[in-house]
């Protein structure tokens, strides 16, 4: 039994595999629930239910437990009405059910100010920024990457500069991007672009270089020349790995979103998060963070599924 679970580099059977996948989500949820619902586990604060004679306590005030105990002692000594309260978690850790509710209410809560957006509007603007930044980066970066991986000339010409540029932090270009591109979506797209583009060239050229050279030689002996080599051998040869790279790079693009959305006119999902944190609506914050996670995971699963459709030789290879 133990051997079956802990066999080195052997795949689990399908039932235990599904079980583990479910557990990987259930476990963190369990820990979170335990910390939220079992009072003696953590709960470092007291939520006041009855202020007694403590002047600054109100119903619902959150204070640290030591402070609360001190006040109880003070009141005892002064012979005044004692405050009462329940143990509670800090405001930044809402319980799972609160976040679950916020999942719904975050979408239905009207923006607090007129210039702020509804959650779905914020989300939509974020997705657009990601899409355009990633799309523009890809239509330029992928061809350059493939050329660099195929022809040494391009590799020598582009890669040294790209290597240098990719160390420059994309956020550092925020002010510049605003100065050049204005304050709306354009500079945000530019930040995503800068964050993705240079990595993309290097990743794609590396993937291209990993293509089995024997395939290129075989193609040459079959009469393939420059352009047909590129379009009939190199590109189809790397397309599945390229697709995987793109999925990973898309994940990286999301990490640049936070900076991108804080420049110019603030907008988007990360701005929503910042605002909600400012109002101490941490349930909304958690809900929004999770929405990003869910969007990311679903896109990735969707793309993986799509990949198996587009590349039939890949699908069978995985099961063979």
């Amino acid at each position: 039994m133990a051997n079956q679970w802990f066999a080195v580099r052997k795949e689990l059977k399908s039932r235990p595999r599904t079980m583990m996948a479910i557990l990987s989500f259930v476990l963190p949820l369990l820990i979170w629930s335990a910390v939220s619902y079992i009072p003696w586990l953590w709960h470092p604060m007291m939520s006041v239910t009855e202020p007694g004679d403590v002047s600054y306590f109100k119903v619902g005030t959150l204070v640290e437990r030591t402070v609360f105990d001190q006040e109880v002692l003070n009141m005892q000594q002064a012979d005044k009405a004692l405050p009462q309260g329940d143990r509670a978690n800090p405001v930044y850790l809402p319980a799972p059910h609160e976040v679950a509710v916020a999942f719904y209410t975050a979408f239905t809560t009207e923006p607090q100010r007129r210039n702020e957006n509804w959650l779905h509007e914020s989300l939509w603007s974020s997705i657009q920024v990601i899409f355009w930044g990633f799309f523009i980066s890809s239509i330029i970066g992928v061809p350059i990457g493939i050329l660099c991986g195929t022809y040494d000339v391009f590799s020598r010409l582009f890669e040294p500069f790209v290597e240098f540029f990719r160390y420059l932090p994309a956020p550092a270009f925020g002010a510049l991007a605003v100065a050049i591109l204005g304050i709306h979506a354009a500079p945000k797209i530019a930040i995503i672009f800068i964050g993705t583009f240079f990595q993309q060239i290097l990743v794609v050229s590396n993937t291209t270089r990993k293509l089995d050279p024997a395939l290129l030689e075989a193609a040459q002996t079959l009469g393939a020349k420059n352009l047909s080599m590129l379009f009939r051998v190199v590109i189809p040869g790397i397309i599945t790995d390229l697709y995987k790279d793109m999925r990973i790079l898309l994940g990286w693009a999301w990490t640049y979103l936070i900076v991108a959305e804080l420049i110019g006119t603030s907008s988007g999902i990360t701005w929503f998060i910042t605002q909600q944190a400012r109002y101490k609506n941490f349930d909304n914050v958690f809900a929004a963070i999770m929405i990003i996670g869910i969007i990311g995971l679903t896109t990735d699963l969707l793309l993986a599924w799509l990949g198996k459709r587009i590349f039939p030789w890949q699908r069978a290879a995985a099961t063979a």
Binding site: L215, E217, K225, G237, A316
Partner: protein
């Protein structure tokens, strides 16, 4: 063990001699002249091939054999145009060739089928490169696939095939271009013994029926004798032609000949050339350092 009385490998039956005479009258397809190849390595210049000269006649089957490091792979890669010789010439039908081209088909040990193409599309690849239209290319490809007996798998992807089947597709793919010469670089080296034997008979069958000249690299002595009209024996460091052996085993070949006196005589000669008896035995020799490690009262005291 008693020694068999073997004839000399140079002794040829009249019909065999007659066949070689006629073979040498045929036009020369491939001629290699004073071919040299040196590599620059950290230890200095290394000569991989030195003064290689030979001629291959039309529809001849030549095997190239030699110990590891004799440069046989380098030779076939130069012939395929995948590497450039340091000096010397190679003439195909009397014309000098440079670089890879469809006139010299190549079959690699690692199959090198395009994994993203079906069997049919793999075979069509060369035809399309030659500018053949899609429909005629497809029609022709299917004929070649039929020839190697894989019609049922025309729409399969390479990973769905066994090693032997993959190599048959690779052969069909190379033949579809109708090259002047088919270069084969240890094509059956990765196959198991049974599959290899089967592939050898298939290859002879194809060679008999198609206008094709074959240059075949192997390190398997039996394979070389069984397949070849003539065997080019190379020696290592530097890679030089040691001997061009005319195989005295009559054609057409069949597996029963593997134990015929001519076959064994040729094999003995190849053994002598490729594994010469050690000059200084004991010195610099690679041997196990064995001591008895079985307890004296072990159940099985000795394996003899």
């Amino acid at each position: 063990m008693h020694h068999l009385e073997l004839p000399s490998y140079l002794e040829q039956a009249p019909e065999v001699r007659d066949r070689f005479d006629r073979l040498k009258q045929r036009p020369v397809v491939l001629e290699v002249k004073d071919l040299n190849k040196t590599f620059d390595s950290r230890a200095g210049e290394v000569t991989a091939l030195k003064n290689i000269n030979f001629k291959t006649h039309k529809r001849e089957f030549v095997c190239v054999i030699g110990p590891s490091g004799c440069g046989k792979s380098t030779l076939i890669r130069i012939l395929a145009g995948l590497e450039t010789p340091t000096s010397g010439q190679m003439l195909l039908d009397g014309k000098e060739v440079h670089g890879p081209g469809p006139d010299r088909g190549m079959v690699f040990q690692g199959y090198t089928l395009f994994p993203w193409l079906t069997v049919k599309k793999n075979v069509m690849f060369g035809l399309e490169m030659a500018g053949r239209g899609k429909l005629p290319a497809e029609e022709e490809a299917l004929q070649w696939i039929d020839l190697v007996g894989l019609s049922k798998f025309a729409n399969s992807y390479p990973h769905q095939l066994s090693g032997g089947m993959k190599q048959r597709v690779a052969i069909a793919r190379a033949l579809a271009n109708q090259p002047r010469i088919l270069l084969m670089d240890e094509p059956f080296g990765a196959l198991d013994a049974q599959t290899r034997a089967k592939m050898q008979s298939y290859l002879l069958e194809i060679w008999k029926n198609i206008d094709i000249t074959i240059l075949f690299i192997t390190h398997d002595l039996d394979e070389a004798i069984y397949l070849a009209d003539r065997i080019l024996v190379l020696k290592a460091h530097p890679g030089e032609v040691q001997e061009l052996i005319e195989v005295p085993v009559p054609q057409p070949r069949n597996p029963d000949q593997l134990l015929s006196p001519e076959f064994l005589a040729t094999k003995k000669r190849l053994e002598e050339l490729i594994h010469p008896p050690e000059a200084d035995e004991g010195l610099n020799e690679d041997h196990l350092n064995m001591v008895r490690m079985v307890s004296v009262d072990d159940e099985v005291e000795s394996v003899f």
